[in-house]
């Protein structure tokens, strides 16, 4: 009685499901074991009790309802189990449950395999059922109702076809009046419904992920719907939340459509590619396995006063920030451990180098990363050299043969998502804007600027604060690298949440949940030894394999950037290595790496960061020691030195290809409340330099974090670029 299988034998013995040998064995067992006999008796009594349970009758005849429901599904073009939820009787009892149809066929001997014994009659049987009198009667009724609806439908002019108004008379003259508008309406309705569903799904997944919106054609008159639903010109500025929702709502942008190809098609994680923020969030989600970091998670509207320009403008032709899925593609390597700061600003301000001033005032030196902003593939894409039709309203037009599609290379519109993506590129880099931008080399990214820096928390916070204070900046969002606690704190800062004392739990800031890293996950899947997985994880955190790190540390001589005659500091080289985030990209881009310009990691002398006092450097536990770059503290510099350092007009055309050179300012004593503030030259921390302001003399070493500023231009009706377009 102690062996469980023996008990099972008793139960099977009771049911007569034992073989002859087992039955003999159990008989012998029962003859000697009273407990076994008692168990059999209990099982027998239980079985008798259950068998004597009164049957539960079904009070209705299901046959008719079953046949009606089945025929409805047969007639439906895309049968789904939910169709049967409402029975034709409409009595509420017709609900059925959705179930996978494959279960009906099963995978067993009666599964839907082609080898049959009974012989399926697929064609004739289905045809016979479809031509049954009941089906024909339903079909006749349906056709009759459809004809009646057609006759009672409103005139075709009322259908949503406003963009095609000029061609409407000719179409109506050639075609029946009731066919074309219905087709158009059906298409529009379907897409609108799909867009709404997609919007809801996206909002459910990422509460702040913004859908892709395609601007209406600037040259064509707005459709009546747009005129009706356009935001009021002089309306009060909405609240923060409504601002956010209205901003991305279809209601005030009726022709806007989200990108149908979301995460699954674009392959950038779960967030999809509905805008760049979502795309980056998707990458982040893919890397970190976290939700909630898509879109603009750290949007900060608190510093904004008044409505955004597109709402304040009298002409509702403002262009919203468009999706830039290509950016996420380009930034696929910039995911791990990078604080991404999204910033939508006026196009004129972007071209006017407003951000340069902000960076300088935040004591952040920088270089433009050519690998990010000027990829040859983008520049050589013939798409940007063709056509002037920069706006395509209808998603289907991008995939159909038409004027808009003609401007797109065929290889780029092999699918709907590709067509949309190509259109976005087109939208980002129209020839008109490129011309308006002065023929810069980086014309495809003229509406976009990427600035990759490494900075201390104080510097980052200073930049965020400065961005929030600029009127030209409409929106600032922060996406943290959730494995770096300091960046989480910066996220709270970006959200304008109060900064609690160090060590306290910050309200409203959800700590990043523990998550398995990709390395460990892959180790689990592939059964890689733990040591190898840990090593791989360490490599990935550092962004470069250990065995290759020494190679990457060898600094190439910067040709013409930075400080002439000075080799980059060691820490600079390490910082550059950190930019490469995966071993694969290290190997892939090693050649390009060797000639690139290192990212400056030291502070410029200049004004102290406004929030430097609140940004006491905290040691992130997950930050490897190699990632902590010796960044000297800063001290204030005279404002005139800053003004000299910043050229508002931007670098001259004949300047270095890296269009931003770190402005320098002379050392100047200033009263800085931070005792550790010390102005150093960027090259002073070279071991061989030994200058008096060397960073090695500073007792405090602040960690530097990688920050990618994604600057996106928001074109308004009065922006210089749009004026140039028109």
């Amino acid at each position: 009685m102690t062996n469980p299988p023996e008990h099972e034998l008793l139960s099977a013995y009771l049911d007569g499901e034992l073989s002859a040998d087992d039955r003999v064995r159990v008989d012998q067992w029962l003859a000697t074991d009273a407990d076994a006999r008692r168990a059999v008796e209990e099982f027998r009594a239980l079985s008798a009790t259950l068998k004597n349970l009164p049957a539960v009758p079904l009070d209705e005849d299901l046959s008719q309802r079953v046949l009606q429901t089945a025929e409805q599904r047969l007639l439906a073009p895309s049968p789904s189990a939910d169709d049967g939820r409402q029975g034709p009787s409409g009595d509420g009892r017709g609900q059925s449950v959705a179930a996978p149809l494959e279960t009906a066929g099963g995978t067993g001997p009666n599964g839907p395999s082609t080898a049959t014994t009974g012989g399926p009659a697929p064609a004739s049987w289905r045809l016979g059922r479809l031509l049954s009198p009941r089906v024909l009667a339903y079909s006749g009724v349906a056709v009759t109702v459809a004809v009646l609806v057609l006759l009672a439908s409103p005139p075709p002019e009322e259908v949503a076809r406003a963009p095609e108004e000029p061609a409407a008379p000719a179409m109506e003259a050639d075609q029946p009046a009731v066919e074309v508008p219905l087709e158009i309406r059906g298409r529009v309705d379907d897409e609108t419904e799909q867009s709404a569903r997609l919007h809801e799904a996206q909002r459910g997944e990422a509460e702040q992920a913004a859908p892709l919106e395609v601007a209406e054609p600037m040259a064509s008159p707005p459709p009546p719907e747009a005129a009706v639903t356009a935001p009021p010109a002089d309306g009060p500025p909405p609240a923060v939340d409504s601002y956010h929702s209205d901003y991305y709502s279809d209601r005030d942008h009726p022709t806007a459509r989200p990108l149908p190809g979301s995460a699954g098609q674009s392959g950038y994680g779960t967030r999809g590619m509905h805008d760049f923020g979502g795309g980056m969030g998707g990458v982040g989600g893919m890397v970190y396995g976290l939700d909630g970091y898509g879109g603009y998670p750290g949007e900060s509207y608190g510093a904004r006063t008044g409505p955004p320009p597109w709402q304040a403008s009298a002409v509702p032709t403002a262009e919203r920030p468009t999706a830039e899925p290509v950016l996420a593609e380009e930034l696929g390597t910039v995911t791990r451990g990078v604080l991404v700061v999204y910033c939508d600003m006026d196009a004129g301000a972007l071209q006017g180098r407003v951000f340069d001033d902000i960076l300088v005032r935040s004591n952040i030196a920088w270089e433009a990363d050519e690998r990010l902003t000027r990829r040859p593939r983008r520049e050589e894409a013939p798409f940007f050299d063709e056509g002037d039709d920069e706006s395509v309203d209808d998603a289907s037009e991008a995939t159909e043969a038409g004027p808009a599609a003609d401007a797109v290379p065929e290889k780029e519109i092999d699918s709907e998502s590709e067509g949309l993506r190509a259109r976005d590129r087109h939208h980002i880099a129209s020839p008109a804007r490129r011309q308006a931008a002065g023929g810069r080399v980086s014309a495809p990214q003229e509406d976009l600027d990427l600035v990759y820096v490494e900075a201390t928390p104080a510097q980052i916070e200073g930049a965020l604060a400065a961005l929030n204070q600029r009127a030209e900046v409409y929106r600032v969002g922060v996406t943290p690298a959730p494995d770096i606690p300091e960046q989480r704190r910066l996220l709270a800062f970006g959200r304008s949440e109060p900064l609690a004392a160090e060590g306290d739990e910050r309200p409203g800031l959800t700590p990043a949940p523990p998550h398995p890293t990709r390395a460990l996950r892959e180790a689990e899947e592939t059964e890689v030894p733990a040591e190898d997985a840990a090593r791989a994880l360490a490599d990935r955190r550092l962004g470069i394999p250990l065995q290759e790190r020494s190679e990457a540390r060898i600094p190439p001589e910067p040709p013409s950037r930075g400080i002439p005659g000075r080799a980059p500091a060691k820490s600079t080289v390490v910082g550059r290595a950190q930019r490469v985030l995966t071993p694969a990209t290290v190997r892939e881009d090693r050649a390009a790496f060797a000639g690139s310009v290192p990212v400056e990691v030291r502070s410029l002398r200049g004004e102290a960061a406004p929030f430097a006092a609140a940004a006491a450097p905290s040691e992130g536990p997950s930050q490897p020691a190699e990632k902590r770059l010796p960044v000297p503290a800063t001290r204030a510099a005279p404002a005139e030195a800053l003004s000299e350092a910043v050229d508002p007009a931007g670098p001259s055309p004949d300047s270095s290809p890296a269009r931003r050179a770190a402005p320098r300012a002379e050392k100047a004593p200033a009263a800085d409340p931070q005792p550790e503030s010390e102005v150093t030259d960027p090259a002073d921390d070279r071991p061989e330099a030994g200058t008096p302001g060397d960073v090695q003399a500073a007792p405090e070493v602040a960690p530097a974090y990688r920050v990618l500023f994604v600057l996106r231009a928001v074109h308004t009706a009065t922006s210089p670029a749009e004026d140039a377009d028109e």
Binding site: A55, G84, V97, N110, G118, G128
Partner: protein, 187 residues
Amino acid sequence: MNDDAELIQECLSGRSAAFGSLVQKYQDRLYNTIVHVSGSRDDASDIVQEAFVQAFLKLETFQQSSAFYTWLYRIAFNVAITHHRRRRPLGSLDHLREQSGQEVVDRSGGPVEALERTERVGQIREAIAALGDEHRSVLVLREIEGCCYETIADILQIPVGTVRSRLHRARAELREQLREMLPIDKP
């Protein structure tokens, strides 16, 4: 060729009414089984209807290597699983009786005896509903439906050994819950 096969052939040849005969033939039996699996009369009705609908739609894939009711039960249990995942938690028949006022009334014997019997039936059904899904399905198919082990394995797509072990555990668990109720001579 048995009756089921004839009806199936008629249905496949275009006479849908033949399938109605199959529905009428098996609906009560299937419903009585599913109502113990789902623990809800309404859910059982929906599941049974959906099972028949899917059987009708997939009838051409039925290869008749097993009995029609086995195939039908397999569909019904899959539908029940899907339904169960969507509508947790299951309610017991007793719970549903309290909500809807419907109950199976055993009218045999006197009023007191009928009441006691009804109460006892309710307790048994509650105990069945308290079983795990896997154990409950096997138990119901065996004790309520009277299926053999092989049929149960065919319906649930599990090995016969698994059927035996699950059935034994279900019985053991149910015996513990209904020990006082079972007509067994106390030692």
